[in-house]
Amino acid sequence: MTGNQNDGRAGGGQTASGVADGQTPGKTRRPTEAEVRARIEAARRRRPRLVDDAVTLAHGAGGKSSAALVETVFVAAFGRPGPELDDAALADVGGGRVAFSTDSYVVNPIRFPGGSLGDLAVNGTVNDLAVSGAIPKWLSAAFVIEEGFPVAELRAIAADMRAAADKAGVAIITGDTKVVPRGAADGLFVTTAGIGLVPAGRELGAGKVRVGDRLLVSGSIADHGMAVMMARGHLAIEAAIETDSRAVTGMVEALLEAAPEVRWMRDPTRGGLGTLANELAKACGLGVELDDSAIPVRPMVRGACDMLGIDPLYVANEGCFVAVVPGQAAPTALAAVRAAGGGDAALIGSIVSEPAGVVVVRNAFGGARLVDMLVGDPLPRIC
């Protein structure tokens, strides 16, 4: 470290010196670029802090603020179930292992191209179980309904849930219903919890990830988030973008059968592929290098993202997953996922030793950039 005491308080010694590179001899020495990076890394290794005194929407966006909220409020209160905070927890039950997961669905609008709150509520929880290595079995569903919500719409959502559950091979076997006064909720909120069974011998975890492993994504990214954004109708853009909402169970099982040595899996929901890759890099202590031109993004989605200044890497998905597979198993793994319905599946990057703990994207003309976790909500730029 630099031993520079001068962080935070400027002490008035920083008026423009007339030397453009800021390295004026005789004045306080400014640290080099490498020193600054080291200082930032040190700052980032500190536990996340929650500085706000009220919850803001950024705390729900799935990025850094969400992590800070979960760490400082919930992990502080409930403790940590394991080395990682996964989307599903595994528990030993009389000789076998079960996976247990829960998620709330508050999407607005309730219907959007290609899907609805109903199939999302089933697929989201099913997928959290599937990527933990479990075979999803049973779901619960709890409904918070705003007074005045049309029964016909509720019926339609329930039908969507049933259809999605049948497709995913799960049964919705318990539930709860609450109605709150007008204004106390926004139409309909649904919470599902799910239980899956983990076949004997299946072990996944970031601790198994090694340098040279490859990253596989099972389909095009950013469809869901962009479909919802379009359906909100605020944008003066019309594009035929549909959600990718679907259960990934079939693809996951095909992958695990073809390549049982899969190291780690997760689905890139809120926060997108960029946030997922950061969680992976942090959890395994190695670097993740993504190949920009290999990441599948439909042209229509890329166009809409470009127009709005949104990075597809941070847009939510609801029907794909990312798996880390050993290098030599990668071609087999890819073929298996493609054959099981992941037509756009691709190998999108590798695990590298350096820089450790971070995610880098290389583009086709040799440039590289860092991909950090999402900060706040992805919002359109203004010009």
Partner: protein
């Protein structure tokens, strides 16, 4: 949507990089080019262009990020307006996280202020028509790029005879801050990557004063990585050939005379302020717009009592030096430690187009 791919072609990029390297070698000295617009800064870092170019070609990040140049006092005014009972405050998403003295708009929203994101000022107008019993205020920021859409909105509000709509106008104009920078003697520059979107409105000719009065070349430039590489090539060629001109790399969009209809509507709806405060740059004469007297009833600053207090920038923040191109983002003493995108101190760390955010998000590799 395929039109962008030709501006991201790797083969063309390699060809341009080679040409730039050859020109840089012929020049044999450091060339400092200021990209005025935050959109350019974003592209430069996002595609890692800085590291692909020869070391002797240096980018200096300019004052063209509209979020970055808003002083803290104006953010406080916005929070004040947004927190008034009965007000629906509408804003572009970028402004939500800019810190004011008493917190950001995002924090005001969490405390109960009715703040809504819009993607265009016309959306704010729709909010006003849908909520006739509420006062709807639009937080207008930006250069000549966004000013025309605010002008259209105000003209339309007048045509509809809307009584509950007003604009908190923070629009600024591009030439005065460039003059202020060039008139200061801190800055050694060799040319400008000119703002493509602003030039769409004001025209490429608007920048003739840069070669004429300051002897520097300027190339009006698009926002794809190849646009920027080509602009660098054109600027270096001018130096090699001893020319000093405004050239238009972004001719697929920008005309020499700009958009006359937009300019004339802006002339009708806006009046130039005597002086406007810029973050880090201080007060610059005739650099900002307010609503013209004929539209004063739509001016939030006329309609409501505003604190209008000038607030000094936080002492630790060196956004001013970054915006003037005097230091690189990472040379700021709080960069990446005290000031990060999730807890920004300065505006340059908030907007994705801010030099600090662009460097922090993309270039720490």
């Amino acid at each position: 949507m395929d039109y962008v791919d030709e501006f991201r072609d790797p083969q063309d990029a390699k060809r341009l990089l080679k040409a730039v390297a050859a020109l840089a070698e012929r020049l044999g000295r450091t060339v400092r080019l200021m990209e005025v617009c935050g959109g350019h800064t974003h592209t430069i870092y996002r595609y890692g262009l800085e590291r692909l170019l020869p070391e002797s070609v240096e980018f200096v990040h300019g004052p063209g990020c509209p979020v970055c140049v808003i002083p803290m006092g104006r953010v406080d005014d916005a929070v004040h307006l947004a927190s008034r009972p009965g007000v629906i405050f509408t804003t572009f998403g970028d402004m939500m996280r800019v810190p004011g003295t008493g917190g950001s708009l995002l924090q005001a929203q969490a405390r109960g202020a009715d703040i809504r994101f819009v993607y265009s000022p016309l959306d704010a107008l729709k909010v006003a028509r849908d909520n006739p019993d509420r006062e709807v205020v639009f937080f207008a920021v930006g250069f000549e790029t966004t000013a025309p859409s605010t002008a259209v909105t105000v003209a339309r509000a007048a045509a509809f005879g809307l009584e509950n709509f007003s604009v908190f106008c923070n629009h600024v104009t591009i030439a005065p801050p460039l003059r202020a920078l060039l008139d200061g003697d801190d800055l050694a520059l060799d040319g400008f990557i000119g703002p493509g979107h602003v030039a769409t409105v004001v025209g490429a000719r608007h920048f003739d004063f840069i070669p004429a009065e300051y002897g520097l070349p300027l190339v009006v430039t698009g926002f794809e990585p190849l646009d920027i590489l080509q602009a660098v090539e054109m600027l270096l060629e001018q130096h090699v050939d001893g020319r000093r001109l405004v050239e238009n790399q972004y001719a697929r969009v920008v005309r020499p005379e700009g958009n006359r209809a937009a300019l004339s509507l802006m002339g009708e709806v806006f009046a130039v302020r005597e002086s406007f405060e810029w973050r880090g740059l201080g007060f610059i004469e005739r650099s900002g717009y307010r609503l013209a007297d004929a539209y004063a009833r739509f001016d939030a600053e006329v309609r409501f009592d505003m604190p209008g207090v000038r607030v000094a920038d936080p002492p630790a923040c060196e956004c001013g030096s970054v915006l003037k191109g005097l230091i690189k983002p990472w040379q700021c003493r709080v960069f990446g430690t005290g000031c990060t995108p999730e807890n920004p101190i300065g505006t340059c760390m908030v907007s994705p187009e801010g030099a600090c955010a662009a460097y922090y998000n993309f270039a720490r590799v």
